[in-house]
Symmetry: C2
């Protein structure tokens, strides 16, 4: 009998072309998960095609501490056995942290109520050797207080078209961003974004724009005009994928 | 005028053949540091050979959070400029965290009074994606309380010949190990070793032996006999380099 499984997955996105299937490569997170699950069905004697639905589609190079996904599967394994099987055969940069049977109606994307992303920068004089793959290294320290002032203009229920990396986006670009928290600790600058959902590259473009404010290249008061323009070219640069991590999905 | 510089260095040892120069490779930490310093002397118009002395010689694949080293150098740079130069040209898996002119008589190896090493294992059901290069993944959970009982027999001022990885060691194998602390947190098992100094592979052989006790393959009470034998073959396996990190050198 098929069950709907809900899994919490971590991954280091460095080597991958993002969450979603891409043509001509098997280096996607979704692809790696499906390959392992399909191998399990083959081990059990009836190879099946499995589709893993993720709460969001992280870009190439973006990481996740707790991506939520779900998939329908018929297996003789218990939840514990299934999780152990996946962790045994997944590459070492992908991990299943939790796995349970959930309600049939659960859909990790449609039921997602909110997401938390973290963007991590470093401006210290030394270098972050041990987490260098998860950090964007800045060559000068931005003014976090200016960034916080700019961030206040970025929250709300608004049209974020200027912060959308997809120029052919046909659907609504209205999103609700509840909070942007900016923390400094040692040489780290960490930005936490919480919202109902985010457009393609949206957190990275918000980060790039906030950094430009922090460096004095823009004013905090420029943000409302950027938002009103509905034009990607008015916002700042797209901060590199390596600093971005999906921290949590709310249901 | 030549000054004696004291530097605190971090490195991810994964890609390197250890701290010390090796024939036929430039992939050593000492080699990378010397190359950058020699390039600086060349930039300043009088290329010189520089020797960087480390507090210890970490093995291939072993990491350091705070290796202390020193070197004699004549440069027009201030301490801040020298540190910035080094961090600009070193590979991204080596960082200079602190650098100052010190007394001429300071010698990072001869003056070292003690060292702290940490060995990190993981036995959780998921996998440690983000620090996987710094962790030894166990396939079963050892009993930490048994390991603590065994560790008590391993501290003191004793002959550690059974825990020495160099079969041709000519000098004294007597060392003082003050403390071995074993901590569990989440799926992590961390062992902290503090002592006056350690023989080649000593922390990794102690770790392997403690793990065998933790798995029930040996008894805590076997340790005195292993020490008394003065025979490497009586001790446990050499735990992999990836879990080991030099945390601190005392002066």
């Amino acid at each position: 009998m098929k069950h709907n499984y809900k899994a919490i997955v971590s991954y280091d996105g460095t080597r991958y072309y993002g969450w979603e299937h891409q043509p001509n490569t098997d280096m996607t997170i979704q692809g790696k998960l499906e390959t392992v699950l399909e191998a399990l069905t083959a081990d059990e004697g009836r190879r099946e095609k499995i589709t893993v639905i993720g709460a969001g589609r992280t870009d190439a190079g973006v990481h996740a501490r707790a991506m939520t996904c779900n998939f329908l599967l018929d297996t003789a394994c218990s939840e514990e056995q299934l999780m152990a099987y996946m962790n045994r055969y997944l590459p070492e940069d992908i991990s299943v942290n939790d796995l349970r049977i959930c309600a049939d109606r659960f859909h990790s994307r449609f039921k997602a109520q909110g997401k938390t992303y973290r963007y991590t920068c470093w401006y210290g004089l030394s270098r972050p050797v041990f987490d260098r793959r998860y950090v964007y290294i800045l060559d000068r320290q931005p003014d976090a207080e200016r960034m916080r002032r700019a961030a206040r203009y970025m929250t709300g229920l608004m049209d974020y078209k200027s912060f959308c990396g997809n120029p052919r986006m046909k659907k609504s670009t209205v999103r609700a961003v509840d909070s942007i928290r900016i923390e400094e600790s040692g040489g780290y600058l960490r930005m936490y974004f919480h919202g109902s959902g985010f457009l393609q590259n949206m957190v990275r473009i918000m980060t790039g724009t906030l950094l430009e404010v922090g460096w004095g290249d823009r004013e905090p008061e420029d943000i409302p005009g950027i938002l009103a323009a509905g034009d990607r070219s008015k916002a700042g640069f797209t901060a590199p994928a390596r600093g971005l991590c999906l921290m949590k999905v709310d249901y």
